[in-house]
């Protein structure tokens, strides 16, 4: 286990593997196998005949259209900055193309099994998109590497923030005004000349200061009241020791903090209201299956 906190907690129970990961169903195993299978194709030969890019804005529009055609719900571009790269890794490319695939909110509310299947489906889709996009950019004659669940050297949240997908929420995930935090990432780093998007702030951090719905519903009390500052951005640092008993040490997935986020209400008003009614009935901090 790469995560030292999880490893210590699992070993304390006398087990060798997290119950959550040990109990995966065949459909989940198939999704995981799909990104392992695509990992060797993250990088590849670059077309020696390079397309000249006279208009980076037009090229950016073309790249975004291609990613949408492949199934991305959001696509953005920014310059690759040091804080976006995993510590100890090196990625020398100038730009990063960020794609996301949204989860089906109606589906994830059916329960932990459906949440997990939907999460894995979207991760697998992001893997396909980023792999295909990297190959497309290499065909244009520019180096490009896909970063996804199979293998990655980049950090999702700082990139998603920089390309304007949203702002960091209290539950530790990035919130988009349309998809809430119910979406998964895939990336391509490249030297293809592109035009950057900009961060977009639409009041999430101020809203989270007073909302507390995710905190009130978290079964493990893992979402803190207080925040820290990182380069001018508020971050509520999730306490993994409190989160993992519900998200990793049980067989079932936990996605409650994302499900109850009021930023889901805009796109799914009736479903969200029904969920919150149910949460009130079961007692807010009750895990999803009870």
């Amino acid at each position: 286990m790469a995560d030292p906190v999880l490893a210590e907690m699992v070993h304390a129970t006398g087990a060798t593997e997290s119950r959550h990961y040990a109990a995966v169903k065949p459909v989940i195993q198939a999704y995981r196998a799909s990104w392992v299978k695509l990992a060797p194709f993250r990088d590849g030969p670059v077309n020696a005949s390079r397309v000249t890019v006279n208009d980076p804005a037009a090229m950016t529009a073309q790249i975004k259209a291609k990613a949408m055609e492949l199934g991305a719900n959001l696509v953005g571009v920014c310059r690759l900055q040091p804080q976006m790269i995993d510590l100890g890794s090196e990625v020398s490319h100038e730009f990063v193309i960020a794609c996301c695939v949204a989860e089906d909110y109606e589906k994830v509310l059916h329960g932990p099994d459906d949440v997990e299947e939907e999460a894995m489906r979207t991760y697998a889709k992001c893997t396909e998109i980023s792999t295909a996009m990297a190959a497309h950019v290499r065909d244009l004659g520019y180096p490009a590497i896909a970063h996804h669940n199979g293998a990655s050297e980049v950090q999702a949240i700082p990139i998603f923030y920089q390309v304007g997908f949203g702002e960091l929420g209290r539950h530790g995930s990035l919130i988009n005004e349309r998809y809430g935090a119910s979406f998964r990432p895939g990336f391509v780093t490249t030297d293809l000349p592109l035009v950057e998007d900009r961060p977009r702030e639409f009041g999430v951090q101020d809203f989270c200061m007073n909302c507390n719905v995710c905190q009130r519903n978290c079964p493990g009390d893992a979402i803190p009241q207080d925040y820290v500052m990182t380069h001018g951005i508020k971050r509520w640092l999730i306490d993994l020791e409190k989160c993992y008993p519900y998200s990793r040490l049980r067989e079932e997935y936990c996605h409650l903090c994302v499900d109850v986020c009021p930023y889901n209400v805009k796109s799914h008003p009736e479903t969200y209201k029904a969920l919150m009614k149910e949460r009130k009935q079961v007692g807010y901090k009750t895990p999803k299956t009870y």
Binding site: E8, P224, T230
Partner: protein, 65 residues
């Protein structure tokens, strides 16, 4: 488990929290990696007890009682 923040202190004195870590060796490993990063010269790092998380635990308990 211990709870520790790693803070980065910039050349202008601005304190920026790198993250929450759960043991001294884990926090120190991050500090060593960051200190070795040539793009972060001018920064110094500190490891401090995550006191604010302790406070929020108390707040949370008070809310539930």
């Amino acid at each position: 488990m211990e709870k520790l923040y790693v803070n980065a202190i910039g050349p202008d004195g601005e304190v920026s929290t790198v993250g929450l870590f759960y043991s001294q060796p884990e926090a120190q490993k991050i500090v060593d990696m960051l200190s070795a990063n040539s793009e972060r010269t001018g920064y110094r790092y500190e490891i401090v007890e995550a006191v604010r998380h302790v406070l929020s635990e108390k707040d949370s308990l008070r809310t539930r009682s």
